[in-house]
Amino acid sequence: MSNLLNVENLEIKFRTADGTLPAVRNISFSVDREETLCIVGESGSGKSITSLSIMGLLPSNGDITKGSIYLEDENLSGKKEDEMERLRGNKLSMIFQEPMTALNPVLTIGYQLREPLIIHKNMSKKEASQASVELLDKVGIPNPKEKLNQHPHELSGGMRQRVMIAMALACEPSLLIADEPTTALDVTIQAQILDLINDLQSEIGMGVIFVTHDMGVVAEIADRVMVMYGGEVIELADVETLFDNPLHPYTKGLLDSVPDVDDVSKEINAIKGSMPSLNEEIPGCRFHPRCPFAMDICKQKEPPTFEVTSTHYSKCWLQEVNQSEPSNTVTST
């Protein structure tokens, strides 16, 4: 088990008034050191829930009902709350989507930055302040010393997200989970933040899970991409392969719905229909009602995950067709 993170057969269910609903259905993936795995999918595909489950921060009505999450050789899914507290912010860190609300409005930047250092590194307040100044400097915040005594509302969104990153990286985690950290930011700021995460990743040597629905961001930052749909992983490949040769119709749909600057005449093909809700039981493949290539078998039998190459997986019956009849009839239509 040389990978940094190994998720095996993970299943997450939510207890609701309508009974227990599966939000994540039997997914497996891994993240290596210094690797960036992008999790892509529409809202409701289970990508945020997957990342929260790794942090042990599932909402109180959500449970891991099956499977395991190994960080190096520690099984996170079996850990007690206080054991997770020791890992969070230390070996395991997370940045969230909304920088405007993710920082505590009544505590100073300095207080919030010192916290992980004091908790995990046993620093004194003075040492932690010193380290905080260095961290703010590292994430490109001007006048870091002054910022320590300021409150979040005195900073812009981009600056707050930098503070969030500084906080998440304070203890040099081995795994950073970034849940749409640039979605709420301007495009120029977005590029700066992505660069910053990239730089710090190679400096610290951490693995990164980057959750997004923006294929442009994926192209920029990912080493490997995991596409999720309806709580399942439907395609997993390295980034070049995925963009050059997407196999699952859903992935193709996602890529087709990105506007192309070089070819403005290209029509954007949105995927018809919408993500099934959690309690919707769909026989066969969960994507088949929206799939332009749906065959009879798709409506009856859930597809297994086909290993196309050793780095490319697709959960789609088309692979069986392709593997048995190499003539590529299906994808040309």
């Binding site: 942090m55 921060l57 206080d82 507290e85 020791r86 890992l87 969070r88 912010g89 230390n90 860190s93 997370m94 969230f96 909304e98 609300t101 993710a102 920082l103 505590n104 409005p105 009544v106 505590l107 919030q112 916290e115 992980p116 908790i119 995990h120 409150h151 509302h153 969030m164 906080m167 998440a168």
Partner: protein, 313 residues
């Protein structure tokens, strides 16, 4: 901030002017003649006439009002019709008792209310939460006079642990503390219940916020998560409730003071109303209004200490 304080004090001046006018007029329009109070039951009609003439009670009401206002500007709030004591003096002798009672009640209310609220929020829907919610509901619903009477029956009459009434010894003595316990609980219960409800809902709202999730993601332990990250944010609406309650407690509490035979502002006012003692009524009402405004001003200032986003500049 200074500008805000000056502005509020100016507002207060106008507010007091308006209140003084309303109280003055309503007292004079209400049935009942102060001359009969001053003259006593045996006064003849010519005696009453003489009294009215001497006190200026036969002049037009507006003239009397402006006369009264002129006095106030010189610090003269008039004299009690019953005792001839200066209004300011009557209030000054009674006010410390009321302050003592109000502070003690608020200590009870804030301690019980906030702690119960926090526990309820942390163990939402547990038996602790349900119990505390039930007590809160009962606490708000029980009338003060009933609770006070029951407490006296149990602790003073039955067990003879605490005095039946009065609030005469200094609060820092053992006797003084014993005297304060029952009235403070009587008065504090309703406020405690309100504060508990408010703390609970406010905490629950904050616990679900993004920044609490961030704090958890940093590995912040349970205790600082509740006491530092959550409580400070949750205190703002609670502080408003505390301010309003404290303001009304400082204005004297008519029922509780009556039940426990405490000579505070509330009793002073209710006796004065019964006796048509206009100057005392006017003086106490003005005091209560002023206290209310000042306490709320202080609450507004405390907001800025808790939440840096609030600024009055």
């Amino acid at each position: 901030m200074i500008g805000m304080i000056v502005r509020r004090i100016l507002q207060l001046t106008f507010l007091l002017l308006g209140i003084s006018f309303l109280v003055f007029m309503s007292m004079h329009l209400a049935p009942g003649d102060p001359a009969t109070v001053i003259g006593g039951p045996n006064a003849t009609s010519s005696d009453l006439e003489a009294i009215r003439d001497k006190m200026g009670l036969d002049r037009p009401v507006l003239v009397q009002y402006f006369d009264y206002l002129g006095g106030i500007l010189q610090g003269d709030f008039g004299y009690s019709y019953q005792t001839n004591q200066a209004v300011t003096e009557a209030i000054i002798t009674r006010f410390p008792t009321t302050v003592k009672l109000a502070v003690a009640s608020m200590v009870v209310a804030v301690l019980i209310g906030i702690i119960a609220g926090i526990i309820s929020a942390r163990k939402q829907n547990s038996w602790v939460d349900v119990t505390s919610t039930t007590f809160a509901l009962v606490g708000v619903s029980i009338p003060n006079f009933w609770l006070g009477t029951i407490l006296i029956l149990i602790f003073s009459v039955n067990f003879q642990l605490l005095p039946v009434g009065g609030l005469n010894s200094p609060f820092y003595t053992f006797e003084g503390m014993k005297e304060l316990i029952l009235p403070a609980i009587t008065l504090g219960t309703a406020s405690a219940a309100l504060i508990a409800r408010m703390t609970r809902s406010s905490m629950l709202e904050v616990i679900r916020s993004d920044y609490i999730r961030t704090a958890k993601a940093k590995g912040v332990r349970k205790r600082p998560l509740i006491w530092v990250h959550t409580l400070k944010n949750a205190m703002i609406p609670v502080l408003t409730i505390i301010g309003i309650n404290f303001g009304s407690l400082l204005g004297g509490t008519i029922v509780t003071e009556q039940v426990f035979a405490i000579n505070g502002i509330g009793r002073l006012m209710i006796d004065a109303i019964a006796a048509r003692d206009f100057p005392i009524v006017q003086g106490t009402v003005l005091l209560i209004a002023a206290i209310f405004v000042v306490v709320n001003l202080i609450v507004d200032i405390i907001y800025t200490l808790i939440d840096p986003r609030i600024s009055y500049d």
